[in-house]
Amino acid sequence: MKLVTAIVKPFKIDDIKEALKGAGIQGMTTSEVQGFGRQSGHTETYRGAEYTIDFVPKVRLEVLCEVFDAERIAGVIVDAGRTGKIGDGKVWITEVDRVLRVRTGELDGDAI
């Protein structure tokens, strides 16, 4: 199995979710995260004092899948998540050793 992880712009997550559902994906996990890459942060000014907000809000999206599906899913995320501007995020694929469904104890492919 594979784990596809993506860091994307928060306002793109609905588009990505719809695209993944359209591609037949049955589950995903998201979390609100903060970080920076090449986009780095932005500045805000309060009473004339300037602050740099280094960590930009992003959404992390995780999808477990079969090995053959990983590239396709990553492609769907990239297509739906792209604005063309800096800060669109990243997608990566990692190897997963074992998957168990908590309710039934099903393993691996059956648990996805």
């Binding site: 609905d14 805000e44 300037e50 602050y51 740099t52 907000i53």
Partner: protein
């Protein structure tokens, strides 16, 4: 000047001022977290600009000379002729203060409709221009002008304020267009506790709005206070009960919306109805507005926070109901009586006429103002700003900070007071 009257109207003026921040929280809580500061600023912008506009020309054009039918003049422009040493001991100046608070909140009401997408620069121009071109003349017609002289009644601003701002809100959103993704993409309130706090502040302030409109500490003020108390409760109750029966739950947003609808509906009749009438008016307004807020999805106009459904519809219902419930004998006045109190329907006709005129004038002139703004500075933010939030793009601020921020200018306060880590000072 009667000191008791002065004391009450001064306090009432402060109560009405407090309604604008209350409205800002009421709307801000309903808005999305990425746009809440823009919503607050649209309201606070009215607090910055309208008081100055009001004393420069607004009050004078909206009121004096009193015998004018259509528009005042410049007699009291720049506060000329208003002093504390004259015969009235400053009561004239006090009226300018009190009515100025109403001038502030009226354009602020519109902000809820244009939420999430209006360019702030456009709003900054719109609010004072609308106040001058729409609020001021309608206020004159209703209070002392030709509509008032015909016998229509509006105690504290049902027609002049709520119907006026409500229909203007509709005109604004028709020019502005829908939010991207609406109505498919939902926008649930980001903070219901803020909404409830704002509702409480509005109700509190509304005692000044309605009971203060007696412009005296007298029996009419007491009755208006009682009516404000009862109509809001009744409307909150009826809205909540409709939701319980229709949707299965008593919701906080339903109760809050009902309270505001009841306050709006009792505003025009606050000093003209008595007894159980405010309860009936509130019950009716709560049910009608609860259904009216659903019209926007059917009709396809994106009134984001239901200014049309609550303020326009609530104001119109309350104003027309005076035609049934007006009880001039109780108040010992020469006003026309409502149908339930021996009236012949003439008052109902005058109420319909006053509101009809206000609706047509406000809708047309507001549309022209918005089209002019659209053709010049533009009325909408770019798509990317709309999607990523107006707070940061339009105001350079974020409502809710998590994590760290680095102070980058030498004037930034130290880390201990602002949770910021001073690192690289910018030279």
């Amino acid at each position: 000047m009667d000191t008791g009257d002065a004391a009450w109207v001064l306090v009432s003026a402060a109560l009405v001022l407090f309604m604008t921040p209350g409205l800002a929280l009421f709307y801000g809580g309903m808005d999305r977290s990425r746009n809440v500061l823009n919503m607050l600023m649209m309201n606070f912008w009215c607090l910055l600009t309208i008081p100055i506009l009001w004393v420069v020309v607004g009050y004078s054009l909206a009121q004096t000379p009193f015998e004018n039918d259509v528009l005042g003049g410049f007699d009291n422009a720049f506060l000329r002729g208003l002093t504390i040493s004259g015969e009235d001991g400053g009561f004239g100046l006090l009226v300018v203060i009190f009515l100025g608070m109403f001038a502030v909140i009226t354009p602020a009401l519109i902000s809820g409709a244009v939420a999430d997408r209006m360019k702030f620069a456009a709003w900054a121009v719109f609010a004072p221009v609308w106040t001058l071109l729409v609020f001021v003349p309608v206020f004159k017609w209703v209070y002392g002008g030709w509509l008032g002289q015909r016998g229509s009644l509006d105690f504290a601003g049902g027609t002049a304020i709520h119907v006026n701002a409500g229909i203007a809100a509709l005109a604004c959103v028709l020019v502005l267009g829908k939010r991207r993704g609406w109505p498919r993409e939902g926008a649930p309130p980001h903070s219901m506790p803020l909404v409830m706090l704002g509702t409480g502040i509005l109700w509190f302030g509304w005692f000044g709005f309605n009971a203060g409109s007696a412009l005296a500490a007298n029996g009419t003020a007491v009755q208006a206070f009682m009516n404000t108390f009862l109509a809001a409760a009744a409307a909150g109750l009826s809205w909540a009960l409709v939701e319980r029966v229709r949707d299965g739950h008593v919701t906080n947003l339903g109760a809050a919306s009902g309270i505001v609808a009841g306050l709006v509906a009792i505003t025009p009749g606050a000093g003209f109805v008595a007894g159980m009438s405010p309860i009936y008016i509130g019950l009716i307004a709560g049910v009608v507005c609860c259904f009216a807020v659903r019209l926007k999805t059917k009709a396809g106009y994106d009134d984001a926070l239901d200014v049309v459904g609550v303020h326009f519809v609530g104001g119109l219902v309350g104003s027309l109901l005076i035609g049934f419930f007006s009880d001039p004998d109780y108040f010992a006045t020469e006003n026309m009586a409502g149908l339930f109190y021996g009236g012949d329907g003439e008052l109902l006709f005058e109420q319909a006429l006053a509101n009809g005129v206000t609706i047509v004038y406000s809708f047309v002139v507001t549309t022209v103002i918005m089209l002019a703004l659209k053709a010049t500075i533009g009325v909408r933010v770019p798509e990317l700003v709309e999607r990523s939030g107006l707070d940061l793009a339009e105001h350079g601020e974020t409502a809710y900070h998590e994590g760290t921020a680095t102070a980058t200018s030498s004037s930034a306060p130290s880390a201990s007071t602002h949770d910021a880590t001073p690192a690289t000072a910018k030279v």
